[in-house]
Subunit: 195 residues, 2 copies
């Protein structure tokens, strides 16, 4: 694997984990066994590295979600497929969702970079749910809405691999059974579990 690619992978994890301001180029380089100047050679500046990391992460998320859309039917099936794809990605690459939260904090101009890529899909999902609830297709205690709510909690809060694996395996359409552990895990995570 090329040095450039290794830097991007390590920076994605470091930015998600310790934050952008908590990750120095020296520390990142030391992890990879190269010098800071090697990183600067490939990306020009720290801002250049951030740009590259966010661009690739957004592209990866988009590809995953679009694949889920392509293999699903319009309507609830599509929402569920999207959520399922997100869980799968969260298990495989938990740092991607952690990075989203960091972007949220960084604000402009970084948030625009990611939002530009993902916002069309978010708008579609929100519009579908909104019209579904306006028309009475979903009741407010619908298990499907619980699933969406849990999804929000997961993408926003939980990064623990074991929790996500449990959720991913148990949400195998058996929403009723799976949500029990999910909810408890979320509650624990939200109120701070020792990491």
């Amino acid at each position: 694997m090329s040095t450039k690619h290794r830097v991007i992978l390590a920076a994605t994890i470091a930015f998600a984990d310790r934050g952008v301001s908590g990750t120095s180029l020296d520390a990142l380089a030391a992890e990879l066994g190269v010098t800071k100047q090697t990183i600067l050679y490939h990306f020009g500046s720290k801002d250049g590295l951030i740009t590259q990391v966010l661009t690739e992460a957004a592209a990866e998320l988009l590809a995953e979600l679009e694949a889920a859309i392509a293999r699903s039917q319009p309507g609830w099936d599509r929402v569920e497929a999207t959520i399922r794809a997100s869980f799968a990605l969260a298990i495989r690459r938990p740092e991607l969702l952690g990075l989203l939260r960091e972007v949220n904090r960084l604000g402009q101009p970084w948030s625009a970079l990611v939002l530009e890529v993902l916002s069309p899909l978010v708008e579609q999902a929100v519009a579908y749910l909104e019209s579904g609830m306006e028309s009475g297709q979903f009741r407010s205690n619908d298990p499907r809405l619980v699933l969406v709510s849990s999804y929000a909690a997961v993408t926003g809060v939980v990064t623990d691999a074991e929790v996500l694996r449990a959720v991913g395996l148990e949400l195998d359409l058996r929403v009723a059974a799976g949500l029990r552990r999910t909810l408890l895990s979320f509650l624990r995570a939200a109120l701070i579990e020792d990491p």
Copy 2:
């Protein structure tokens, strides 16, 4: 208000907002119109400041939750009162919940500082929900569990004051109606709304 207290309030907001490593003593001092040395005089070191900020935030959270416990009945009423108190605090001092997320990232020894104070209450709440679901008292699509799930999402994700105000006002026991907007807001926030 004493300088020391002003530093703690400003640091709480800064740490929650920009992160601990994203907040330099110089920048914090400049915000307050004092010198960095004034901060070091009061807290000894940056670690000293972090300790003080976390200790006070944890104490404030605890006081709020214990007051809610004291004025509620055992059982679901108590869980609801606790959640309600958290919402109220989140509206009044959103940085406190933001700080919890930062602590989660900082890890040891800072997480232990906060966890030590709050974990007895968390354990109680989790035990209650767990036994309630084991015994079949709650079904998995119970609106009350939706509320708890939403609470996890709120404490973990949402810091936008307007969203929290909307949630706080509409959760006035009319769970069914209130959750509609809440869920959509959470979904938007979790998938990154432009801040």
